[in-house]
Subunit: 436 residues, 2 copies
């Protein structure tokens, strides 16, 4: 396809969807890519680079296959949010090279964008939006929409700003089209603007956009100056990313790429696997320290697993609920929720105690043993719920994402607690049930 | 606010965002709602009902507070996808009442919509889209856009259909605005349409929309007849819903509502908690059946937890990867992936074996015991990986969602396997390490 017939290829290529352009380009071998970027103009290449999947680092590698000046041109033509992502992934020296090769205004804009922290609204926003001055009439705004339609990332909303570029309202394209040409923009402007601040966490932004069913949301600084917009397609990515993070945490493995080779997959799983193994050895030592008790009542060994298991299950449930809770709500009373969580776990703990007492009593006809097992399970479940609540709460307290919590790690600590509680209680009650 | 000053209230209410209208209405007491729906016209109430959060059942309850004819009018004015959701949540008798009170054409449309299975593209789609005949010119299409803008759920794309209403192409509003009035629509139509079939799973639809960054995607039947469109705001909800499902499965608790009362939360967690407790009792019986072995070597008890724990962790990792894998990809070779997964787990299993052998040997100076523990861990991890792969694979085989998998349930079965393997090996090797 490639060699010689450039025109045919380009005609064919231009009929592809933007997403496919990125996919096709990435699938070329390096040699073919070199032919490809030579025949494409900067704008087409910008579309390709806007739509490349994978890490920003990999995209930067592809960008470096192109001469620096052309690379800088491509960056200028890209959407500002994607461009900023690439700049953030580059070594500092490469970034200054590209910035030097750009028009001053573009370079300044990028410098402003890359100062925003990852996972904030500022890092997500694009600067290609449509702003018009308050006081314009419908006809003129429509003319501007037509002129800027090519460049803007979204033309669903037009943003109305005052002389200081502060956001005062939003007009939907729908309203522009359905109102008379000479009407002033004010009369169709919605001034109850929902906007986010550049420093807001991307999770909160996603929640707002999802609740309101917006196609785009404006981003401002603390003084309401319009800085950019975030479109719903970026929100889709955020929701996916956050969900993968929570899920990965609960399983202690990064599930973001499921098509790894076996060796790569093993390497990815290894760090936590090994850490949990070593921490598991502490359980061994703990149980072994009660060897004397076990020697006197070997039946005790049979119940360790069910006590640790049921405490672990209760802990996993509490943990999952707490992570979602802390992740989705912005301000909640810490103590009120802790008590609510403990009350709920208390119901389950009592239930488990009753079931275990009944089972052990009927099976072994030994109420001392039954009491020790039931009591241990109840205490272990409550401890486990407390732990599962405090860990994500603590992460949030120090401004970390509660989704960073590691399910199996919490479970391992629950195991230790269960062992100590169980054998502690069993040892102290040994005389109650031994020899019966 | 309510009593008397209806006009003030309505003026205030109409400035709210659609989402807020739903929130405010739901927050009223029943008496106030009665005043509210009396002063609102059908269209405003339709917006309210389109934006009510919560189960469809709860929304149906609110709808029944309104007289049947007004209820039917509200349903007619709602977006078809939301309307269909409500019909699906109603008792059959109530549904026929509303259908009888609707214009025939509307009633027929709803009958067509509610036949689609839940979680398919058909169940998600809205029928408020803009279709124009091939052969129109830009000016006429724009006039149509303006006319229908009020009603359509999205006016970002216009769909071009042939005389049999088969989808032949898509025109973006952006292209309509930037091309001359007299141009035929064909010359700016994109005929490489990406569409989905009404029976497609919502997860696959979400993937396509997320990949292509579409604002809306058309839904067709098997003969390419245009049936409706799915907008990105519905996709946002799908992605969230699917993520919650996977996460809930891994934790064995429904995390979709995190603001329950303690008692309600306990009730929600109880079914799986109790089931897992009862299944955990099987572990007790299994360990107890090896009481003779434990009596001879109480130190064995110390290693059950680390072996079951590490096998459980490996299993949880495998399970999380498998669920994501089966959930996100459509056709994959079963055997190739099973082997790849087992190879990856084999690396981890060997590693765990080596670490455990080293630890037990150094600690107890007993290579027989070290070998028994290491061998058990290796076998248990491999069994656990196999199980964690086969469960979601089997769910998919019978056309169930792999996300239905229950993490702690798999872990409980892993526990049984670990106990049998460990005590089986230990019992048969008892002479090798006892008394040393």
């Amino acid at each position: 396809l490639e060699n010689g017939q450039d025109d045919d290829f380009m005609t064919e290529f231009m009929t592809l969807h933007d997403f496919e352009k990125g996919q096709v380009y990435a699938s070329f071998s390096k040699n073919i890519r070199e032919v490809a970027w030579r025949v494409m103009d900067d704008e087409t290449l910008a579309t390709v680079f806007d739509n490349l999947e994978g890490d920003a680092e990999e995209v930067v590698d592809l960008l470096q296959e192109v001469p620096p000046q052309k690379g800088a041109n491509i960056l200028v033509e890209m959407f500002a949010d994607n461009e900023a992502d690439l700049f953030q992934a580059m070594p500092a020296r490469l970034a200054s090279t590209y910035l030097a090769l750009m028009p001053d205004r573009e370079a300044q804009e990028i410098r402003n964008l890359i100062k925003y922290e990852d996972q904030t609204a500022g890092a997500l926003m694009a600067t290609e939006y449509l702003a018009v001055a308050a006081g314009s009439v419908v006809k003129d705004v429509l003319a501007q929409v037509k002129k800027q339609a090519e460049e803007a990332e979204s033309i669903i909303y037009v943003y109305v700003v005052d002389e200081k570029h502060r956001l005062v309202g939003i007009v939907s394209l729908r309203d522009l089209l359905t109102h008379p040409d000479e009407m002033t923009i004010e009369s169709i402007t919605n001034t109850r603007v929902i906007s986010v601040k550049a420093g807001d966490d991307q999770k909160e932004v996603a929640q707002v956009v999802a609740d309101y069913n917006f196609f785009a949301i404006p981003v401002t600084d603390d003084d309401q100056h319009l800085l950019g917009i975030i479109t719903v397609d970026d929100i889709v990515d955020v929701i996916d990313e956050e969900a993968v993070e929570e899920y990965s945490g609960l399983a202690a493995v990064d599930v973001s790429d499921t098509d790894d080779s076996p060796w790569h997959s093993a390497l990815k799983r290894m760090p936590w696997f090994l850490a949990l193994l070593v921490l598991g050895l502490i359980s061994v030592a703990l149980v072994a320290s009660f060897e004397h008790t076990i020697r006197q009542a070997p039946i005790l060994a049979a119940f360790i697993m069910v006590i640790a298991g049921i405490a672990g299950n209760a802990g996993t449930q509490s943990l999952a609920l707490a992570v979602r809770h802390f992740g989705s709500s912005t301000d909640k009373s810490f103590w009120k929720n802790l008590i609510s969580e403990l009350l709920s776990s208390f119901v389950l703990a009592i239930l488990a105690g009753v079931v275990l007492f009944g089972f052990v009593f009927l099976w072994q006809d030994n109420e001392g043993l039954a009491l020790a097992v039931a009591l241990s399970a109840t205490v272990a479940i409550l401890l486990s719920a407390l732990l599962a609540y405090l860990v994500p709460a603590a992460l949030r307290k120090v401004n970390l994402d509660p989704a960073l919590v590691n399910g199996p790690l919490v479970q391992t600590v629950v195991d230790w607690a269960a062992i100590l509680v169980y054998f502690g209680i069993a040892t102290s009650m040994l005389n109650e049930f031994i020899g019966k």
